[in-house]
């Protein structure tokens, strides 16, 4: 049964903020912390993510989807967040919800900091997402009759606060996401889109859903847990 909870998320500058979490919690043995995709992809994959959690629930597996500071319903300013801060936050969330496993979605793979076992669904570095966000700003500028190229946007973003497709970035977040390579999987197993089948929903122009993809992802996780 789905419910909402809150958790104290550590902030980059010290202190904590009360953040929301969507949870399926019946104090069962297997407890999966879900680390979502970022920005535009988070919106496009939210439905799939929650549908996977719903299916895990039906398979007797608890799962937890925390809002990270500055993301989703968080009241914290996004521009003040950092990747290192989010990694601390996911570590804190894993402890708080007593997670036994982790599932990262797309860029969520950059934010997994605990040594728990689990999976990375279609892991992605931040570079491609940032390039799309910068390009979106360049296209909007062009439509408005202004000229601002990718190189110029990158230069501005690296040096100071900048806004891309409605998201506010501070230079720390901007630089880290643009430069961060995908970390080695270590304790996590990668699940590629080929295995899930169909086209990645992050490619869609508008958020969509795909029950077959949710079935496939949840099945891979449930089978993995059954075998461990």
């Amino acid at each position: 049964m789905r419910s909402f909870s809150t958790w104290p998320a550590p902030l980059p500058g010290g202190g904590t903020s009360e953040e929301a979490a969507l949870i399926f919690d019946q104090a069962r043995e297997n407890r999966v912390l879900v680390i979502p995709a970022l920005f535009d992809e988070a919106n496009k994959l939210r439905r799939l993510t929650v549908e996977v959690m719903h299916r895990l629930d039906l398979s007797g597996i608890d799962s937890f989807l925390p809002d990270l500071p500055g993301c989703n319903d968080s009241l914290q300013p996004l521009a003040e967040q950092t990747v290192a801060g989010w990694r601390e936050a996911t570590k804190a969330a894993a402890l708080r919800f007593e997670a036994t496993h982790i599932l990262t979605v797309r860029q969520g793979a950059l934010l997994a900091a605990s040594q728990l076992p689990g999976w990375r669904y279609a892991p992605a570095s931040g570079k491609r997402l940032m390039r799309s966000l910068m390009r979106s700003r360049a296209i909007s500028a062009k439509e408005a009759g202004l000229s601002e190229g990718l190189a110029e946007i990158e230069q501005k973003g690296r040096a100071g606060p900048t806004k891309l497709a409605g998201w506010s970035f501070g230079p720390s977040l901007f630089n880290t996401l643009l430069d961060a390579e995908l970390p080695p999987a270590e304790t996590l197993t990668d699940i590629s889109q080929d295995v899930v089948g169909g086209a990645g929903l992050w490619l869609r122009a508008e958020p969509d859903e795909d029950p077959e993809q949710a079935d496939a992802l949840a099945a891979l996780i449930a089978i993995g847990l059954d075998q461990s």
Partner: protein, 117 residues
């Protein structure tokens, strides 16, 4: 939604053949047919259409400015995906209304870029 796989057996065959043909000519850009197929597949994924619908696109089929879901963020994603799958680099100056307006415009652009690369 019960979407068909993008490449069922019947449709995969010609694509495989052209991929093999491309491999047989190392250093040459992908054939026009291969680019056309890949571009349709990308549009399928971005627009969430059935492959039959995208098969029906012709040179005059309107894209940016004709399909409400293709806003600037979606076009940005489309171009980034084209870079990845067609192994091309799209510069700021390349992006203009003409290239994005129709399927024919976008295909012509992708072909020119592939030859350039």
């Amino acid at each position: 939604m019960d979407r068909e796989p993008l490449n069922d057996g019947a449709k995969e065959a010609p694509q495989m053949a052209s991929e093999e043909a491309d491999k047989a000519r190392p250093g040459l850009p992908p054939s026009r047919h291969a680019i056309d197929t890949e571009l349709r597949s990308i549009l399928c994924d971005v627009l969430g259409l059935e492959s039959d619908d995208v098969e029906a696109f012709d040179a005059e089929t309107g894209l940016f400015g004709h399909l409400p879901e293709l806003d600037s963020m979606a076009v940005a994603g489309l171009l980034t995906e084209m870079e990845d799958r067609l192994d091309i680099l799209i510069e700021d100056d390349d992006v203009d209304g003409e290239m994005l307006e129709t399927f024919g415009g976008l295909l012509g652009f992708a072909e020119a870029k592939a030859i350039e690369g």
